[in-house]
């Protein structure tokens, strides 16, 4: 054990003097996280807002009700409603909406709602009516909201008509009571109600997502430095000298493993602190993060140890390690949120330690420390299995 510690200490001193480690382990993830959060942050769609225009050619009581409905939408902050004089103008503004940036025109809209002349009179006397929604093809969600609001309103009016016609045949309805009955029909509640259940957010905010992704991605390169140290010793010829000492092969491997572990934890810790201070990233409860970091480093070590045990030279280890780190990192959602994409990709991502690391952080964001345990367990499993496999091969590799 003491021999292993000595070997580790020697290696760490060598490594920490190497600027490559600082670049790959700290600078690269930090710089890329900064750039990515600069690029991706303004686009995290936390703001849904629609611009609607309203054409009221009717000016009757129903138009008033509709305008009230739209005002509620405005109060909720979901949309801005502007009144325009004619359908022609409304059309122009919606069409201009899709080239808004190019023309710099402020009078554009995502959708237009048109109440035709005579609407109130027609509907209130039991006839039909039609509202028009003009939607912009380049603002589909907003157009859809406009359509939903209008059709909800129309459905309500239609419902009242149907109610009256269901309860009474046309001759039965007393014209003096129509308004009263209509009101009664309208106030009959919908037996279906919708209750809001607020779900907690088990997802990282955009900045933390970027930094965590870059952190775990570059972790594999950092750990690579430590693991390929074994191959480097062989190349430099110092391996035989190590083995000449009465210590056996185990301490040599353990020493290298310890180096990788310390390097990995160290670089991730520096990254976590730096991004928290510089970028405002919120990694979560330190204990939970610590557990994930250690388990993640262990998983990375195991995988890269397998790589080191199947190749012959340090260069090969570097290349193969880079390929595997890239594929796993990519599948695991370090470059883009795989879970949001769904489908096969999302399922495949669970085969990577990267995905479990990110998932652990996400769960931590939505809960307490206990929430990281499933991910920690998964990462430990990755580490154990790969370490066991590599142990067999490494012992054979550690020769003079």
């Amino acid at each position: 054990m003491r021999a292993a510690l000595l070997i580790a200490r020697k290696d760490l001193r060598l490594r920490l003097r190497d600027r490559s480690l600082i670049i790959w382990g700290i600078l690269a993830p930090l710089l890329l996280s900064t750039i990515f959060s600069f690029v991706f942050n303004p686009l995290s769609q936390d703001d849904f807002h629609a611009d609607f225009v309203l054409v009221d050619a009717d000016r009757g009581p129903l138009a008033d009700s509709f305008r009230q409905l739209l005002a509620e939408l405005e109060d909720d902050g979901l949309a801005t409603i502007r009144a325009v004089d004619s359908e022609v103008e409304a059309r122009r503004q919606v069409e201009a909406g899709s080239e808004a940036f190019a023309s710099g025109d402020a009078d554009t809209a995502d959708a237009a709602l048109v109440i035709p002349e005579g609407f109130s009179q027609a509907v209130l006397s039991g006839g039909g009516g039609q509202l028009t929604v003009l939607g912009s093809r380049s603002a589909q969600l907003s157009a859809q909201v406009a359509y939903s609001v209008a059709s909800g309103f129309a459905a309500e009016l239609h419902a009242v008509n149907v109610a009256l016609h269901t309860a009474f045949s046309p001759e039965e309805v007393d014209p003096l009571r129509t308004a009263e009955l209509a009101e009664q029909a309208q106030s009959t509640p919908n037996p279906i109600s919708v209750e809001d259940i607020t779900a907690s957010t088990r997802q990282l905010d955009s900045t933390t997502q970027m930094t965590a992704g870059m952190g775990v991605f570059f972790l594999f390169f950092t750990v690579q430095f430590g693991v390929s140290g074994l191959l480097e010793e062989r190349r430099l010829g110092t391996m035989s000298r190590l083995l000449a000492a009465p210590i056996g092969r185990t301490p040599v491997i353990l020493g290298k493993a310890l180096t990788s572990f310390v390097l990995g934890v160290f670089s991730l810790t520096v990254l976590i602190v730096a991004t928290t201070i510089l970028l405002g990233a919120d990694w979560g409860n330190p204990l939970g993060v610590g557990l994930l970091v250690m388990a993640g480093v262990f998983a990375a070590m195991g995988i890269l140890a397998v790589v080191a045990s199947v190749v012959r030279t340090q260069d090969q280890a570097g290349s193969l390690g880079a390929i595997i780190s890239l594929v796993l990192g990519f599948l695991g959602g370090t470059f883009f949120p795989v879970s949001q994409v769904g489908g096969l990709l999302s399922s495949l991502s669970l085969l990577t330690p990267h995905a479990w690391f990110m998932r652990g952080l996400g769960d931590l964001a939505g809960g307490d420390v206990v929430a990281v345990l499933p991910s920690v367990a998964a990462l430990l499993a990755f580490g154990l299995v790969t370490s066991a496999v590599s142990w067999v091969f490494l012992r054979r590799a550690v020769v003079r």
Binding site: S20, V94, F168, N190, I192, I197, A199
Partner: protein
């Protein structure tokens, strides 16, 4: 010609390293595939629905939601799965239709739907669609309840009458019309956006990481030996430049032809597309040469190459699409145009989305050429200094 010979050696060095085959050829194609498959179909907000034993009315409600344009409805087996999916961001919102939904409503009773969402404005838009569907389905039920309240008829009978009346009654409805052009990126084929984004990203990145080969040449003394032969310095410089350019063009052509063949990517006018590739590669290889001239340690240079290559690509609109930046983050969009990537993307979008030709992309090509010229001048000057130093 000696310069060509030097260039050819660079290419052979590249090809001989088998891991390069992965990074230079396979990885870009993989990324194009994944991006096209994942994002190429357009991102609509997704709502999950749990309908275990909800009956015909439950199915009708789901049908109403599926008929709503602009949202995607996904069936989910259980409530817990639904809640977790919403929490993790795999769904924007969820709707739970309870068991006995159909039965309680038909019996004149009530039903409660649970709408699961995070405090998120996009979920609000989905809630709108749910409300509309609920209103539509509830209309008949309310009519029946009203009629029953008048005392003339029972609920179930009234419900049947209401259904008939609904068919016959004059409709109060909404006419929908779509105007204007769809969002520029929606006009692209599924894999197109990924293809030109990844092309620019990788050609630039490979040129940068290829600088390590140049650094190694210097480290191993190969460059010095080249200069000890009766070869003028400018030939060596030209050879190196052609080498970088050759690698970039080989990679670029492979990606363009490969993606066109395998994914059916439309690159627009072939002459224009090829020109964009050549001009962009000039800038990329010049930058690679500059890096190869400036840095002394190939491992450090490799790390910086990755940061610079990915960083510039992100800023230039190769990750978050340039058009999306233009729509939502105009300042970022302006900054993006400091990178060659943004101009490459503008050129490609002109010829792919708007069917332009060479004449339409003259500005973009001019800017890319200017970039290449400036960096190339710097690179040759720097490399000459480094190589001829004792």
């Amino acid at each position: 010609m000696k310069a060509l010979f030097i260039a050819r050696t660079s290419l052979r060095r590249l090809m001989r390293e088998r891991s390069n085959i992965f990074f230079v050829f396979i990885l870009p194609m993989l990324l194009i595939l994944v991006f096209g498959a994942a994002f190429g179909g357009g991102l609509q907000p997704r709502i999950g629905v749990v309908t275990a034993d909800a009956g015909p009315l439950g199915e009708e409600l789901v049908g109403l939601m599926e008929a709503t344009e602009g949202i995607t409805v996904k069936a989910v087996e259980e409530r817990d799965t639904l809640v977790t999916a919403v929490e993790r961001g795999q769904l924007e919102a969820g709707l739970v239709i309870p068991e006995e939904y159909d039965r309680s409503l038909r019996g004149g009773g009530q039903a409660v739907l649970d709408f699961v969402a995070r405090p998120d404005p996009t979920a609000q838009a989905l809630r709108n669609s749910v409300d509309a569907a609920v209103a539509q389905q509830g209309a008949l039920l309310r009519a029946a309840a009203f009629a029953a309240a008048q005392g003339t008829v029972g609920f179930s009978e009234a419900l049947e009458t209401a259904a008939q009346v609904d068919e016959a009654a004059p409709v109060v409805g909404v006419r929908q019309e779509a105007l204007g052009e769809p969002f520029s990126l929606d006009r692209l084929g599924q894999f197109d956006l990924g293809a030109y984004s990844e092309l620019l990203l990788f050609v630039f990145l490979t040129s940068l990481t290829g600088s390590t080969a140049l650094i190694q040449s210097r480290q191993f003394g190969v460059s010095r030996r080249m200069l000890s032969t009766p070869t003028p310095v400018r030939t060596v410089l030209l050879g190196e430049a052609l080498g970088r350019l050759g690698v970039a063009l080989v990679q670029g052509l492979f990606i363009m032809l490969g993606s066109a063949l395998v994914f059916g990517v439309d690159w627009g006018d072939p002459l224009a597309a090829a020109t964009i590739l050549v001009v962009f590669s000039l800038g990329a290889s010049a930058t690679g040469m500059l890096m190869g001239a400036v840095f002394k340690n190939d491992q450090q240079a490799g790390g910086i190459a990755v940061v610079l290559g990915l960083g510039l690509a992100a800023l230039g609109g190769a990750m978050v699409p340039l058009a999306v930046m233009k729509e939502f983050a105009p300042t970022l969009w302006r900054v993006a145009h400091l990178t060659p990537h943004a101009w490459g993307i503008e050129a490609f979008e002109e010829i792919i989305i708007r069917d332009g030709g060479l004449a339409d992309i003259l500005l973009e090509l001019a800017i890319l050429l200017a970039f290449a010229a400036v960096v190339f001048t710097l690179a040759t000057w720097r490399l000459r200094v480094t190589l001829t130093r004792a």
